[in-house]
């Protein structure tokens, strides 16, 4: 199933392609090359059929404009946002725009990452940021073609014509042609017009970007009709659930197969590399059979692993052992010299536990082979349909062309739905039982088999000169996950510290770890911004002033701090028993300074966050409503992780099993107030999905210090840890 939405308000779901194919009209084919996005005429596209050129924009004679979206929709609004950018430059009538999800083909629909690799993975807040320029140019090219066709029909110069949403107008005589009317007779030239960046609409002329365009998925999400992967139902489909090795990635040796297969409705069991799948006519039967499984597992890599011991004992040993391998993350100037010449050296250490995504829709996928068994279709909601398709093809020994991927809505992503593991399992199970299969992981499996934000140990040192300025900076992160999962947020480019040495010291535990909403920024920013607050306190300075005068905050950072200071009336006295703390974080090109106002129950150790203010420089804000909602969401996600969430492993297995022992923030913990403001800038859009999250830990811990004189040094700030800190 591909999600397609027609009309602006009603939000009905219609089937893909073909609905409009019979209506005639123009087809524009767009490909992203090394020189950016290019449109091709249909004839040209047909000639290029083997080069995987696929249509992005179609205009039907009835005026319906179908725009494909490569924005996996997990709640952030990208599905609507990306086509809106195309529509803006096309000057399309938004009410006539239908949205379809783009096929899982990164060579055509991917954005350009490093090394000339195209990707569709909607991760790290990339969707709007990385598609923005290409989609604007693509939209402008379509508009030019429409103008050319109208000019030819009227026998006038295209340059004399203008457009209003969905209409080409000849100002000389008031003649009008709708885009639908043009599509009925128009031709796409073999050589599409070039669009120079200077020809793009000026900001003042925007009708959609920066305005209040409603998300197309909202109406479907209040009446139960939005289709997630878990909702797919196919004729003849059977249901599967899996039991994986409690110690990650251990193979099953044997299990009570005969007993399980004799249970009601059971169709079969399937051996997976790291688990056993049970397949039944009904999901409740699969569940019952899975609960009855007794599996002997081979010994896994993480056997005997104890996460608490590792974090508090092993990581510190690694840090203090001069023989452990150090990987440089970033160096600037001469840190060694700065420390040698320092008037004072400051130090601090921080810990952070494993974190679980806890996306509300447990992992699932639906798989169906064709009768010949040489083609497969996959349905799932995924952040990376391209990676999923590749993973399924590889697992089955197929070429990618043999795999069709149908994107669905995602019941939360946060970094979890990316990689195709569950699609691969569904495919393997479907092949084994020769039936269409819906695989659903139970919540307990989703948690036990989590791919966690890694735990980590942070060691920071700073050198200050005689004037108190920070001249040297050392930051060492210790943990499992390498550069990809441990070093994000270490770079403090928004400060002007001249001499820096950032390093990573790695260890491997065999525990599954992965990206998680801003991942390493969470613990690195917590450490960095708590440490800076500590130095400000030592210097007896206002923490914002310290960042300006002693850390050399950049103008961009200053603007964020100044905005948030105004928002929260920074200097104002707080009610009795409350205090505020400030922090800043970079993420995906955005910068956000935030303040939290908290109180502490000194008997229970519970921290209450009353108010949060955050000022974000996210570049041009393409869609203000969802942008604000993204920040609010990340604040809550951050608060939940900082105050509640903790995964521990004992004897190699995850100890938590469901939401009773992996606590998420609930409504009663909601701050009384949350205020989000965007710094008004004209720069290109940057990522907004995660910037609201990483600042929150230090904002709280810095407020806690102001309130109690004690410092919190271990994430999350559970009541036990708060009480411990108060006693210290």
């Amino acid at each position: 199933m591909t999600i397609a939405i027609k009309g602006s308000q009603e939000g009905s779901q219609v089937s893909r392609r073909g609905v409009l194919a019979g209506l005639g009209g123009m087809t524009f084919c767009l490909a992203f090359g090394t020189d950016g996005a290019r449109l091709f005429s249909e004839a040209q596209a047909n000639a290029m059929a083997n080069a995987q050129v696929t249509p992005w924009v179609r205009i039907a004679a009835d005026g319906t404009i179908t725009i494909l979206s490569a924005g996996a929709e997990m709640g952030q609004g990208s599905m609507t946002n990306l086509p809106m950018i195309v529509a803006e430059e096309m000057d399309a009538d938004w009410s006539k725009v239908a949205i379809e999800m783009a096929p899982a083909d990164a060579s055509v629909y991917g954005y350009m990452m490093n090394n000339n690799v195209r990707m569709m993975a909607i991760v790290g807040s990339r969707a709007t940021m990385l598609y923005y320029n290409d989609l604007r140019i693509a939209g402008a090219q379509v508009r030019k073609v429409l103008l050319m066709n109208a000019a030819e029909r009227w026998g006038v110069d295209a340059a004399t014509l203008r457009t209003e949403p969905g209409v080409v107008i000849n100002p000389a005589n008031g003649q009008r042609l709708t885009y639908g009317e043009i599509a009925a007779f128009g031709k796409v030239p073999a050589q599409l017009p070039k669009v120079d960046a200077k020809e793009l609409k000026a900001r003042k002329d925007w009708r959609l970007i920066g305005k209040g365009v409603a998300r197309r998925d909202t109406p479907l999400k209040v009446n139960g009709t939005a289709t997630y992967g878990i909702d797919i139902k196919l004729p003849g489909m059977v249901y599967a659930t899996t039991l994986h090795s409690p110690v990650h990635n251990s193979a099953p040796e044997s299990w009570n197969d005969a007993e399980v297969k004799a249970m009601p409705g059971v169709v079969g069991t399937v051996r997976l590399p790291n688990g056993v799948a049970v397949v039944a006519d009904r999901f409740e039967q699969a569940l019952a059979a899975s609960n009855a499984l007794k599996v002997a597992w081979k010994k896994g890599a993480a056997a005997g692993f104890n996460s608490v011991e590792a974090l508090t004992r092993d990581y510190e040993k690694i840090h203090h052992d001069p023989n452990t391998k150090s990987e440089p993350v970033h160096t600037a100037g001469d840190a060694k010299a700065a420390f040698a010449a320092a008037a004072k050296v400051h130090k601090a250490e921080f810990h952070s536990d494993y974190g679980y995504h806890a996306q509300m829709e447990p992992l699932n996928a639906v798989a169906r082979f064709n009768d010949a068994g040489d083609k497969i279709e996959i349905w799932e909601g995924t952040q990376a349909p391209d990676l999923s398709r590749t993973a399924v093809a590889q697992a089955l020994g197929f070429k990618e062309e043999q795999v069709t991927h149908h994107q669905c809505y995602l019941g939360g992503g946060f970094g979890r739905r990316n990689g195709g593991m569950e699609a691969v399992e569904a495919a393997q199970i479907a092949r084994a039982v020769r039936r269409p299969v819906k695989l659903i992981w139970t919540r307990t499996e989703d948690l036990a088999q989590g791919r966690f934000r890694p735990q980590s140990f942070q060691c920071l040192e700073a050198a200050t000169d005689a004037s108190g300025k920070v001249t040297g900076w050392r930051h060492c992160v210790i943990g499992d996950g390498g550069n990809a999962l441990l070093t994000g947020g270490m770079r403090i480019g928004y400060y002007g510290v001249p001499n820096q040495s950032l390093e990573l010291r790695g260890i491997s535990h065999g525990v599954q770890i992965k990206h998680w909403r801003a991942v390493a920024h969470v613990f690195n920013v917590f450490a960095i911004e708590s440490f800076i607050d500590q130095m400000a306190v030592d210097a007896n300075m206002d923490p914002i002033q310290f960042r300006f005068e002693r850390m050399g905050a950049t103008p961009k950072a200053r603007a964020c701090f100044e905005t948030v200071a105004r928002m929260c009336d920074w200097k104002a006295a707080r009610p009795q028993g409350r205090a505020i703390g400030v922090s800043i974080s970079e993420r995906s090109g955005s910068l956000g300074a935030g303040v939290a106002e908290i109180s502490v129950d000194r008997t229970s150790g519970k921290i209450k966050v009353h108010k949060v203010w955050v000022a974000v420089d996210g570049g041009t804000i393409v869609s203000p409503g969802p942008a604000k909602a993204n920040i609010e969401s990340a604040i809550i996600y951050g608060l939940s992780s900082v105050l509640h969430e903790r995964v521990t492993l004992k004897d190699g297995a995850v100890e938590q099993t469901n939401f009773h022992d992996y606590s998420l923030m609930r409504m009663s913990d909601l701050p009384d107030e949350m205020h989000v403001q965007f710094v008004d800038v004209d720069t290109r859009p940057t990522g907004l999905g995660e910037i609201g999250n990483p600042f929150i830990a230090a904002a709280i811990s810095n407020a806690f210090h102001r309130l109690t004189g004690k410092r919190l040094r271990h994430l999350p700030f559970t009541p036990e840890r708060v009480l411990e800190a108060l006693k210290a």
């Binding site: 878990i230 409740e284 509300m360």
Partner: protein, 150 residues
């Protein structure tokens, strides 16, 4: 075989007595607006109304609904016209949206018995429903708006 009224329509399904209502609704009948989140009554994503009372469909056995009336999100109103649904759209509450059927059904139970709840009453009533996207503040505002305009 279990017979009950679902969204005003008589249904009979070939489910065992102990099958969770969640799977009866989703798989046997085929209404998928009611979601599976935890399977343990901890998140509220599967909230439906049983004779007017909000229950967790994952913790309710098929036998418990025999000859009773079950309302799901699909049956809350025709055309999304319930004041809560209108407020949910107006305030752009949903993000990923997965929990929202359960949130709306839980809130509908509140307004049915207390048309003018204050914030504390809303929070106390809704506290068992998890929203991982963190739309709690908008849920509160939407319940308040529905209460005003409903």
């Amino acid at each position: 075989m279990v017979s009950f009224t679902l969204n005003g329509r008589q249904v009979s399904v070939d489910a065992t007595a102990n099958t969770p209502l969640l799977w009866v609704i989703r798989d046997h009948v085929g209404l998928t607006g009611t979601k599976y989140g935890c399977g343990a009554g901890l998140c509220g994503a599967c909230t439906v109304h049983l004779d007017g009372k909000a229950v967790r469909a994952c913790q309710t056995q098929a036998s418990e609904v025999a000859n009773k009336s079950v309302i799901t999100i699909e049956g809350l109103s025709p055309n999304s016209s319930h004041p809560l649904q209108k407020a949910w759209v107006a305030l752009e509450v949903p993000q990923c949206g997965y929990c929202q059927s359960g949130q709306i059904m839980k809130a509908a139970e509140l307004l049915a018995s207390n048309p003018k709840p204050n914030r504390e009453q809303i929070v106390a009533h809704m506290d068992g429903n998890i929203c991982r996207c963190g739309t709690y503040h908008r849920i509160i505002a939407a319940v308040e708006q529905a209460s005003r305009e409903g």
